[in-house]
């Protein structure tokens, strides 16, 4: 009995010691392989830096092109997001020669969603035209993160042909895209997207019309002034009308003054009236300033304050109007005084600390 007990204790101790030794060995091997990987990466980085600077001699170039190490793949993908110009062109052609782009396109339909995200990010950085269709298909992916990553990558690709897919992704009920993601992607595509986004102003989906109005305003797309003014007057959605008002202010065409003026009248919702005040102020002019000044002192404090703020941003013309109201003793005087005081405080702050501006 005692012998069996001693034997089992010895066996247990031996097992524990063996396990400790095994853990130590595994750790040692892992550390060694990490060090080797870091050293490999450092060595490859030096080669890579020379490669993108077009300074490799033929033997080094052969060494790089024939290397199949995972560090090289990781390094080239990491570098891709950091450089542009000729350095990026060199990287892209290198990756294409290794078949990395085709591999990434294949990975866009794989089961692991992190892998799909990585593939979408990579394709966006490469900017290869053949990536557009797989990325558009990813806008309907069951995972939200994948859809967002694909939209961003389509923005990086900069092909205006992807505009309809991005816009329709907004109104997909079960697999929709966030408003801001689509807007940023469209902004990255830039002015070449204007006409196709302009078509979105007539879309049945409310969010498509909203994003289209916002985009056209940010782009200063003056040729859409009439269409935006039309939507501002007649769209059934208040959100769309507000976006149109803001867009017209950003575009700054005086031809929008009439439709914006109708929106500051008292029978309109407060949100639309305040945004329209700001839009009119952005267009500018003495007549516009006088028009907005009439709202300062209205019973609704939101309108009075918004009007006063809008006028204060109109430069000397606005300040002159506000000075007159402030000294008049009218119901608008307190609002005018408050906004003038804030403007003065802002100017003092700017003069004291220019980096905070």
């Amino acid at each position: 009995m005692r012998f069996a007990l001693i034997a089992s204790v010895l066996l247990l101790s031996t097992l524990i010691v063996l396990m400790l030794i095994a853990t130590g060995i595994i750790r040692l091997v892992r550390t060694h392989s990490e060090i080797r990987s870091l050293a490999n990466r450092a060595q490859l980085r030096q080669l890579f830096v020379k490669f993108v600077s077009e300074d490799l001699d033929p033997s080094e170039l052969r060494q790089l092109k024939t290397s199949r190490s995972t560090e090289l793949g990781e390094l080239s993908e990491a570098m891709l997001s950091k450089v542009k110009g000729s350095a990026k062109d060199i990287l892209v052609s290198f990756l294409e020669s290794r078949g990395t782009v085709e591999q990434a396109i294949r990975r866009t339909t794989r089961s692991g969603y992190l892998g799909r995200c990585r593939a979408a990010t990579f394709l966006g950085h490469v900017g290869s035209p053949q990536a557009r269709k797989p990325l558009e298909a990813m806008l309907r992916d069951r995972k939200r993160d994948v859809r967002i990553t694909a939209a961003r990558s389509l923005g990086q690709l900069g092909d205006a042909k992807s505009v309809p897919s991005l816009l329709s992704g907004l109104d997909n009920r079960r697999r929709s895209l966030p408003f801001s993601t689509v807007l940023v992607a469209l902004m990255r595509i830039g002015s070449s997207a204007q006409d196709l986004v302009g078509d979105g102003l007539q879309a049945a989906g409310e969010r498509q019309r909203e994003v289209a109005a916002e985009f056209l305003g940010l782009m200063g797309a003056i040729k859409f002034t009439a269409t935006l003014s039309e939507l501002l007057a007649n769209d059934p959605s208040l959100d769309v009308r507000i976006r149109c008002a803001r867009a017209l202010g950003r575009i700054g065409s005086p031809s929008a003054i009439a439709s914006l003026t109708r929106c500051i009248e008292s029978d309109n919702p407060v949100g639309l009236r305040t945004v329209s005040c700001g839009a009119l102020a952005a267009i500018g002019g003495r007549e516009v300033a006088m028009l907005i000044c009439k709202l300062i002192g209205e019973d609704d404090y939101q309108i009075s304050l918004a009007a006063a703020k809008a006028v204060s941003q109109m430069g000397p013309v606005g300040i002159e109007c506000l000075d007159q109201i402030a000294s008049s003793g009218s119901p608008g005087a307190p609002y005018a005084k408050e906004v003038l005081a804030r403007a003065a405080a802002r100017m003092v702050g700017k003069a004291r600390n220019p980096s905070e501006s």
Binding site: R45, Q46, V49, K50, V52, S53, D55, L75, A78, M79, S81, K82, V83, K84, G85, S86, A87, K88, P354, S355, S357
Partner: protein, 123 residues
Amino acid sequence: MTKILIADDDQDIVELVNYKLTQSGYDVTAVADGKAALEMAREVHPDLMILDVMMPFHSGIDVTLEARKDPDLSKVPIILLTAKSMEQDTERGFAAGATDYMTKPFSPRELLSRVQAVLARDA
């Protein structure tokens, strides 16, 4: 030899900029954070600094502000290199006293041209 100080916590970028500038005949010193950048600048008195905006300890903008207060570094041209591309970030950089501003991803060739232009303007 013209001395250039680079401060960036991204090793890939440091190596790339370092190589490009060294090949063009500049004497390059590299550090990985804002605090080290200030210490190194006070030690080596560079002719130009290239600073990343988002760095550990002190941002590139903080380093620029500190450098502008330091009599030894106040005239040293500074190029900010950053992932931030918004207009306001550019304004903040210039308001802090930066000489030039480049956004990432960047072109190494363009960076070299800007370095040459800034140094020629300063000479």
